[in-house]
Subunit: 414 residues, 4 copies
């Protein structure tokens, strides 16, 4: 009895979406389950069996890791995207990849509906649904955690466990952790539970991906990252010579190194799109290394004024991505300029990783804007010091006029 | 014979400004030497004797440390000022304090001229002179390193040493280092010499202030920083209970801790105001800790939209300061807004310092914008999940219209 | 029988809010009617009688014209606020004045609820309610046009007329116009009805306030507007010598002149906050003159860089005001900077009004930044042409480096 | 005797550049004269004879009108470029076209030098020379008005007239006007002389291009402008049916109409790049009409958020162009985004021209973002009013939190 139509459900294999799957069936929908492999730690085949056992008509498991890294993460690297000066947008960046494929499957399967397990207070519901609507304006969304029949029936974890038991849904986790996580190959996030007090220090055993800097190796490791047009194209370990050139490979290798050396943990209070402040802890090992290197190679290869304009739009782009507007004209607008700017961002950065530190040790580029002769303090290098004289005097004209005015208005100058 | 008039010279005690002092006298000027104590390591009394011995009429040594920290550094902290995403502006911030007092002395001494030892290619000449002209539009500037008679006579260090020997100027340094430095209580900079190749890794013994993270203590140290209106008002060491409340004291104590724990080194290629790229290495121990803490307490206490506007103006403010426009209407304009925003930035941040890492462990405020009930994933807290539904649908309207248009224009949607 | 509590209703005297008043009573609320006099053409005493006749417990009629002009309109003038490059924000600016007093009355009367007659698709509902919630976070809002019981019962004007007849509500208008209007002393807006086709030219008889330029006097009229700190303090008619110095008086006089000379009509497609495009026609006579004059006096008295920063702020401020966020930290943040900037904006602008044109004929200020000697093409005025040489050469350094890089990357320069 | 090398001189045919030509020859240079036809009123053949008579080796007269309109002016239209909110950048936009061809000729002729007749205080010297250096970093510039030997020898017009008489240079003008002008097909500027007092009203006979609105026809004229990708592709006169589709033709036709109907005069105090305020009067007939139409069609076809970002970019772009940085990476950066945005800016605007007014009467587009059903106040159009409820409540969350905080900090809310 699937009289209400067909739903493509973003399925994680966990308790929540398993109960949602069962509930949708109970409500009279036919359900196609969809799992995106974006690099999270997961037993996909066990999850497939579980979904089928609960009653999904079909289960799609899509490996989106390469698309995620090369199509989205590297664009964010080009833009130096960073939310509120601190957060690398790990969850936000995964959403466009997931939603795009979910709509493709929904359309292929003839689904009228898509569904997800996001809560009603968070950012993810917005990101999922804006993506859905932008890609397919006619799609209908079922968000159970915003439907009173659902959220009043399942006011907490015990109610879900009861329902799972009743429906014969296997529950793998023996004990739930006192926080929530979201993981992909770019990052893992921790929030809610004990973290809801922003003054509580996260327990040491919460952090899952990255070695505590205090436990990281006492010997640093040195690498080089090669960029072309603002995207990484090669990573070389200067110690053992290991070299990666494939986008996904090199990213996973940077993850491995960041995790080993304690690089990429943060703990912040951030501003959600819906106007609430929330506390999040994040581990983004490879992304942290990559951003430091990209910012550095831009120092050598990107024009000053372009950098300033780009930096203003990076801030706005980060908000756009955080708020779920990846599929929007404003993202296209900004990225057109960013891509133009990255034509010159090619070169190599040399780095040292040590106990949480990403230390730049040098950089080089065949198309550097750095001119050692003109920069030199010791030689003229085609530079006439007298030019500075005129430059300063012209720049002072405006200030001299202002201080005279200020003195008239306030009675004193600076 | 001082027929050309009286000069107030910004004197450092080093070889360059000692030769400039002698040269100005030789040229027929009377010279008043002025040394600003902004926290640099210096034997001020020895420098005084030296200036008098060379022939200065008078020597002023002014302790500007408190004014520097409380009047300038803390304003930069309020604004999260950071040049090109990395550099804390240590040299730029000292200049306004130095120039203001130099003009005060020049006026008191009836000097027609001020002079400095900055080179003709750098930022500092601009910062000094824009400050001079803004404070006293009628002042005249003598910049010997831009005067052919001077710079052609002294093409390098040997010529200066010869001149010093001839003039009986004592030279303290036995061997010059292969780089230049500029130090104050906020930071030390290293540039020029071997650093002119941006791919050369700075030698370990170059770094003067901060312990190499590899040599820093293996035991972390925990502190709290208390803010009022965006300025630090108390630092407490949670281990030994040491507490500082005076602005200068607490800043020097943060410096001590940062230096001990390897916090605050960077190595960058930056864009000078005059359009040249240059490579600089910087150590800013206390400032690095303070900025991390201030950014964090703003997460808890500053409104999202104010933060975004402020962040755009922080970028511009950093350029203004870097380029030497501290005494300008544009700085006053931005700071008026920043000060308005900091009225709510009060609270305490708890931090751990460990081998180069500044790790936030929690934060609290009596005027927090964080509402744990509304932020909670487990309880409703006055939040109706159905509201998100309308919020998302309204936000999607624009995207749906756009994708229809995009499809008409390009033949496909997202 | 008022068992549901007490409501303070923003009452206009028109059909919609009269029916809402009757309906609220029918639903079991006690209703206090509130009319804001913000300069609209209205028979307030007739409206008072009508509200009392329908059943309002009390009717407040508040003259907010002076507060509107001096507290809000003049702030917008200081900021050169303009939405989407064209629209002077006439409706948006009135809302804060109305809501603030409405909440004051609601609190004084012990009302739990406030209500208004705004539709569910427009901007005004947002502006009213964000104002309510910001001023009194505990207030409850009744928005009948978003309540299905109401809007389904009254699907169009005939249903409202029926209800009015049934309830004995007098209806003044004999025939409704095929568009809607909103009027205050700053402007009148026209939208909806036949204007919903953006390609329909508004009929000549729609425009109510301003003489059609084709019918305006063939003789121009000349005035002077005097500003202090960016606000107008005196208007003088150079023909007849008429002089106004009171804020409200001078604004109403500028309105009179603008209406007479055909100044201040626009017709645009604008972007509503809720993501819909809509077409609006507006008449803003005095505001159009005032903005032209203020922009002009800033040319003489405001520093270039402050102007640029302020212009960026102005765009954002206009969005803030348009979207209903007058009572917000972001408006306070921006206005702090704007007020700082306006300290120097004092002087007099001379204008000619003629058939839709506002023609600047000259300007003067005792604290002008304009220096005729330095600006002169004929005399040196303390300017050394050689300084421009250095200025240009320094500015070219960056471009020369870039074109070399561009040539390497793309194979050709500019 | 041309021992010093070969110069390509930007030659206008006027007194200044004729004297410069003679002086360069006298100084020992060989001179190739170059005249750009950018639509100014000029007898080019007479000027050619004059240059040859004075002693130019060769004279190039290049018709750059099409390149100017289609390559530069229409890009500015796409961006809505406007300097300081008022000025359409008529002089600035012509410079890139002139300099690019000048360098092409200089290279073809083997010139080591280029020269121009710009003064040492203005913007044009900067625009010419930054263009020269960006296109050919190795070019050398001779700017006589900044060379003491030249400007001290010719302190005013009488000295130039003497020199011209001595050199046998014919002087066409019998009496110089008490202001300077610069003309091209986009605009004419007036500055200096009697205009140096910003409070002097320009005399009626100064204005050369545009009919005084008071003398313009009393009958309005109606036209349509068709845009594709933000550029005008067709202009139709609705009265007589005249139609233009070629870029240059339609622009010249808009000029004709603007001049006839008194459209496009301004009088401002602007900020020069070198920090001086100056007073300029401008007539830009076609450009004023085109900008009004382009802004309007964007209302119908450009996404709200893209428009906001683009508007910020437009302000910066206008500064870039005004300051002479057309050939720069920052212009390329911004234009990449602008071009992306203009993909959807296609449609037709209907306008009325009348005595200085450009009145929009309607607009239409096959790819409009305007949806009359959803915009309608009368029908639901797929819009659920309840959605606004959630939208407003979510937007209020942040304000409610802020007012509670504000009350704690300041003792009162809004």
């Amino acid at each position: 009895m699937a009289g209400k139509g067909k739903v493509c459900l973003a399925y994680s294999g966990g308790l929540d979406t398993s109960c949602i799957l069962a509930w949708l069936l109970e409500e009279g929908y036919e359900v196609v389950a969809y799992m995106a492999n974006i690099g999270q730690e997961e037993d996909f085949e066990a999850a497939r069996d579980k979904a089928l056992k609960i009653g999904a008509t079909k289960v799609y498991i899509e490996d989106l890791r390469k698309e995620f890294v090369e199509g989205v993460v590297f664009s964010a690297v080009q833009a130096n995207a960073l939310y509120e000066g601190v957060y690398l947008l790990g969850t936000s960046l995964a959403r466009p990849v997931i939603t795009k494929t979910q709509i493709r499957i929904a359309n292929a399967e003839g689904c009228d509906f898509v569904s997800h397990g996001c809560t009603g207070k968070g950012n993810d519901q917005v990101r999922f649904e804006l993506g859905y609507y932008a890609i397919d304006p006619s799609i209908k969304v079922i968000a159970p955690w915003r439907i009173p029949e659902f959220f009043e029936r399942f006011p907490g974890r015990p109610a879900l466990l009861d329902y799972a038991a009743k429906k014969g849904i296997p529950v793998f986790q023996t004990a739930a952790k006192p926080w929530s996580t979201d993981e992909n190959l770019y990052h893992i996030s921790y929030e809610a539970g004990i973290l809801e007090d922003p003054n509580v220090t996260p327990p040491k055993d919460m952090w899952k991906l990255i070695t505590d800097p205090e436990d990281a190796p006492t010997t640093p490791e040195r690498i080089s990252i090669h960029f072309e047009n603002g995207k990484p194209v090669k990573v070389v370990n200067k110690g053992d010579g290991k070299t990666c050139t494939d986008g996904l490979d090199l990213f996973l290798y940077l993850n491995h190194l960041g995790r080993k050396h304690g690089v990429g943990r943060i703990d912040i209070v951030e501003n959600r799109f819906i106007g609430i402040k929330s506390r999040g802890c994040y581990e983004t090992p490879g992304g942290t290394i990559l951003r430091a290197a990209h910012v550095d190679i831009e120092g050598l290869t990107l024009d000053r004024e372009v950098r300033r304009l780009r930096d203003q739009f990076s801030q706005r782009l980060s908000e756009i991505i955080y708020n779920g507007f990846w599929f929007s004209p404003e993202r296209e607008f900004i990225m057109a300029a960013v891509e133009q700017s990255q034509q010159t961002v090619s070169g190599t950065v040399h780095l040292k990783l040590y106990k949480g530190n990403v230390i730049i040790e040098g950089r080089e580029s065949a198309i550097s804007l750095y001119d050692d002769k003109i920069a030199s303090m010791d030689i003229a290098g085609g530079f006439n010091p007298g030019d500075s004289d005129g430059f300063i005097k012209i720049n002072a004209i405006r200030l001299k006029a202002y201080v005279a005015q200020k003195t008239k208005v306030t009675g004193s100058g600076f």
